[in-house]
């Protein structure tokens, strides 16, 4: 759950649970995405990111709980919700038989705010031939075509589901550029999921980590960076196991020297270290990548107990 202050909420999910047979894809998800932010979703494959995004788009009906996008139900009112969303999926299932020009002509009919000059600018900057068939384009070019039709009407909410997956750095740069463009337009919101955490770290204001259908961490990027530290500890006596240290998410090391990724107020962590009979020999901040690895490699029982 994100504290939003005074910003209006664009996406509001309350108590959303979704099962596929015996598998729980989403488990009591509560999530609020404020307007004007870049919101990142992080999780291992199969953790429920795409299922969450499909609920936002109304492609999945809620079994329990509620989903509101722009204060509307995306299943009951797809026209008014989807007309304000630009969406690029990992599958990128654009019609292969269309040419780029046909794709543009077809898509613009649905969006009154479509801007031809902007679409043309994007087409040229992406190097897309107007007469080229979508099916003959490379994967990267197809992603660019998908991005073009998702951006050309300047949507209020841009939803990107692992858009960079399997793409080369140039296409990833274009996608990041798109996010930056959207951010530049005041009041527009981006929801995107990705495995590329360094990119997410660069652009996301908020991050939610999902594991086995549960949100295990949801906070502003600055807070995440400030509240997680990597500490290298030296013990007087060699240890075969790391100590039980409050706030420690993951341990590495052996013998006298152990390294922990810790979460929580740093003074409390330092006090706990002293109490365990160790001293801190090295301390520095960690990136989203390290936080992700530390949280996702924890036993789920520990994560749920928090």
């Amino acid at each position: 759950m994100i504290a939003t202050g005074s910003s209006p909420i664009v996406i509001d999910m309350q108590g959303v649970t979704r099962r596929f047979g015996a598998t729980i894809a989403l488990n009591n998800i509560c999530l609020s995405v404020p307007r004007g932010c870049v919101f990142g979703l992080v999780g291992v494959n199969g953790s429920g990111k795409t299922t969450l995004i499909k609920h936002v788009l109304g492609l999945l009906r809620t079994e329990t709980g509620s989903v509101r996008v722009f204060e509307r139900d995306p299943v009951a009112d797809p026209v008014n919700v989807l007309s304000r969303i630009g969406y690029l999926s990992e599958e990128n299932d654009l019609p292969a038989w269309m040419t780029v020009a046909e794709l543009i002509r077809y898509t613009r009919a649905f969006y009154p705010g479509w801007r031809d000059d902007y679409a043309e600018e994007l087409r040229q900057s992406f190097g897309l031939e107007a007469g080229a068939r979508i099916g003959t384009l490379s994967k990267g070019q197809q992603a660019r075509a998908g991005l073009l039709v998702a951006l050309a009407y300047r949507p209020e909410l841009l939803v990107l589901d692992e858009p960079s997956s399997g793409l080369d750095p140039l296409v990833r740069r274009d996608i990041l550029g798109a996010i930056v463009r959207i951010i530049a337009d005041e009041g527009r919101t981006v929801l995107f999921s990705s495995h590329l955490l360094d990119e997410m770290e660069r652009v996301a204001d908020y991050v939610a980590m999902i594991d086995k259908g549960r949100i295990v961490l949801s906070a502003a990027m600055n807070d995440i960076q400030a509240s997680h530290r990597r500490l290298t500890l030296r013990f007087e006596q060699a240890r075969s196991q790391p100590p039980a240290l409050a706030g420690a998410l993951a341990w590495e090391g052996a013998g006298h020297e152990w390294t922990a990724v810790c979460h929580g107020p740093i003074d409390e962590v330092r006090a706990a270290v002293s109490a365990s009979g160790a001293r801190i020999v090295e301390e520095h901040g960690v990136g989203l990548d390290a936080v992700f690895v530390a949280r996702m490699s924890r036993p789920s029982a520990m994560a749920q107990a928090e």
């Binding site: 788009l57 109304g58 492609l59 999945l60 009906r61 299943v75 009951a76 797809p78 026209v79 008014n80 919700v81 989807l82 007309s83 969303i85 969406y87 999926s89 599958e91 299932d93 654009l94 019609p95 038989w97 269309m98 780029v100 020009a101 046909e102 543009i104 002509r105 077809y106 613009r108 009919a109 649905f110 969006y111 031809d116 679409a119 043309e120 087409r123 040229q124 107007a130 007469g131 998908g146």
Partner: protein, 558 residues
């Protein structure tokens, strides 16, 4: 596992459900034809009971045994599965085993059918047993060869498949029937094509394995016709619905007219032969046609029989129009289409409109074909004379109105048959497909039952007493299904209430109009009023149209 067995296992595991259904149907036919007095059945009934399902089964077998179901025929790339190309086998073996499995299974299927079903039905001629078997395997072998071979130009394969397969089958038949060539020579001409197809396939697959595919281009448009602007090309669509109609039409709308055109190109020259077939008499020496049709000239009957093609094919084409452009059964609707800001009701309405356009285009093609037949067939004068005779036998008012209604009704019925099967294409669930197959099987069984009843006059009265009750039961079930679907449509607010009211009013008006016309046209003693009303209620679809909205909604918001 030996490579030979591995290929057989691959075919079985991928298509085990379909192959099991085919085997089950084969077994059922074997049992039925060897226990029922099939030889005494009228020749008119056999095509319905055996012909159509068998054609469907053989079409399916040819499709799956070509090992190229996922191939895009219009592309230049080889349709031989990429995962097989890297197997550590020599090309002759890689090509040979699937080809051998294919032609063996297909030949076995035909020989089982001919010996187990055709012989008990009284058709026992060597030409009808062995010639089709060879023709089937030749068709399959060439199809495999052409699908597996890469082509230098996109679309070139489509231009070659039809004529090559057609010629390989038609030429030996012509030699046999028209030129009286010895049967053994014809068999030899067919058989020699198998190694030719194998060599072609091996050559093609070896090139595909090496990536040795020439890359040519079709001649481009003249400069003055070429698109120069990028985004400004083409006028904007006036509405999302119009854009969606364009999308649906481009995706699948012209398949039906194209099929119709291809069918008529093949069948129109054969009208005189069909006309002779209509003059056949049954085993007892009595005419096989019902009395109403006996006064119509054979040529007209053959032509009208061909004109019913759109009606027969409409359901299958409706399935295709209804089919959602998705990746697989778990994701039947692509996220690209599902996230267009357009209501589910509008998406379905556009499919109804696409079906209407497709129907009109098909009947337009059909009209052109008939005109072509009159102009070039050399039978126009003869047919017009027999038409005049028919016209003079009936009062002009009912004759012309009946004719106009027959044509308009056929067009409307074609559209109705298309739209009533849309839901089945949209739903993409195994149980729905199974249900449709069972429904089709029930239809075939019903024809068989009708035939049995026609030959059993002692049960006519009992059946006549039961018929209104059976029809009333069917109408009640239909009413329940309609009520249930309407309730869900309203609860989910899928269709505006005003549109639902209009749909019900139009349905009542259509039913009333149809009742009036039939009451006016049909002889008074032909059907009771109650039977007529119940028949009309059952004929006109309502629930199946409502199901289209529910099926799309179900797949769009799963």
């Amino acid at each position: 596992m030996f490579p030979s067995l591995a290929f057989g296992w691959m075919i079985w595991t991928r298509h085990r459900l379909g192959l099991s259904l085919c085997a089950g149907y084969w077994l059922l036919m074997l049992i039925l034809t060897n226990t029922l007095p099939v030889a005494s059945f009228s020749p008119a009934i056999l095509p319905f009971v055996f012909g159509m399902p068998c054609a469907a089964v053989f079409g399916y077998l040819v499709g799956i045994l070509s090992i190229g179901l996922d191939a895009r025929l219009e592309s230049r790339e080889s349709g031989f599965p990429a995962r097989l190309r890297t197997l550590p086998l020599r090309t002759w073996s890689l090509v040979g085993w699937p080809m051998l499995w294919g032609i063996s299974l297909l030949a076995l299927a035909w020989l089982t059918l001919s010996c187990g079903v055709l012989r008990p039905a009284g058709i026992d001629h060597a030409v009808l047993i062995w010639l089709p078997a060879l023709m089937f395997v030749v068709i399959l072998a060439w199809l495999q060869a052409l699908v597996w071979s890469p082509f230098p130009l996109p679309g070139l394969r489509l231009f070659i498949v039809g004529p090559l397969i057609g010629a390989s089958v038609i030429v030996p038949q012509l030699l046999l029937e028209k030129f009286g060539i010895d049967e053994a020579l014809v068999y030899g001409l067919l058989a020699i094509q198998l190694p030719a197809a194998y060599l072609t396939a091996a050559f093609g697959v070896s090139r595909a394995r090496r990536g040795d595919v020439p890359h040519w281009e079709w001649p481009g448009w003249p400069t003055w016709l070429r698109w120069t602007s990028a985004v400004t090309v083409g006028r904007p669509f006036v509405s999302p619905a119009r854009a969606q109609l364009w999308f649906e039409w481009r995706r699948c709308g012209f398949g039906f007219p194209l099929l119709t055109a291809g069918y008529f190109l093949l069948c129109l020259p054969m009208i005189p032969w069909f006309a002779q077939a209509y003059e056949l008499v049954g085993p007892s020496g009595s005419p096989i046609l019902p009395p109403l049709l006996q006064e119509i000239d054979g040529l007209w009957l053959a032509l009208v029989g061909l004109l019913w093609w759109p009606l027969l094919m409409a359901s299958a084409c409706g399935l295709e129009i209804g089919r959602l452009p998705g990746r697989d059964r778990t994701r039947p609707l692509s996220s690209f289409l599902a996230t267009r800001p357009i209501s589910t009701a509008m998406l379905v309405r556009v499919k109804f409109e696409t079906a209407a356009l497709s129907t009109l285009a098909s009947w337009g093609v059909l009209l052109l074909a008939v005109l072509l037949w009159f102009a070039l067939g050399g039978k126009a004068a003869e047919m017009m004379a027999s038409f005049d005779v028919l016209r003079q036998r009936h009062p002009p008012g009912p004759f012309w109105i009946g004719l106009a209604l027959l044509i308009a009704g056929s067009i409307v019925l074609t559209w109705l048959r298309m739209v009533e099967s849309l839901w089945l294409g949209m739903i993409r669930r195994g149980w729905a497909t199974l249900g449709a197959l069972l429904g089709f099987g029930s239809f075939i069984a019903l024809i068989g039952f009708g035939h049995w009843l026609a030959k059993s006059p002692e049960y006519w009265q009992t059946f006549a007493d039961l018929l209104p009750w059976l029809a009333a039961l069917a109408v009640a079930l239909k009413g329940l299904a309609a009520g249930w679907s309407l309730r869900i449509l309203r609860r989910r607010d899928l269709v505006p209430s005003s549109a639902l009211r209009w749909a019900i009013l139009i349905w009542i008006a259509l039913a009333g109009g149809l009742f009036g016309v039939l009451y006016w046209l049909l002889p008074r003693n032909m059907a009771a009023l109650s039977t007529l009303v119940l028949g009309i209620v059952l004929l006109l679809p309502f629930t199946r149209l409502a199901f289209a909205f529910l099926a799309l909604d179900w797949n769009r918001h799963r």
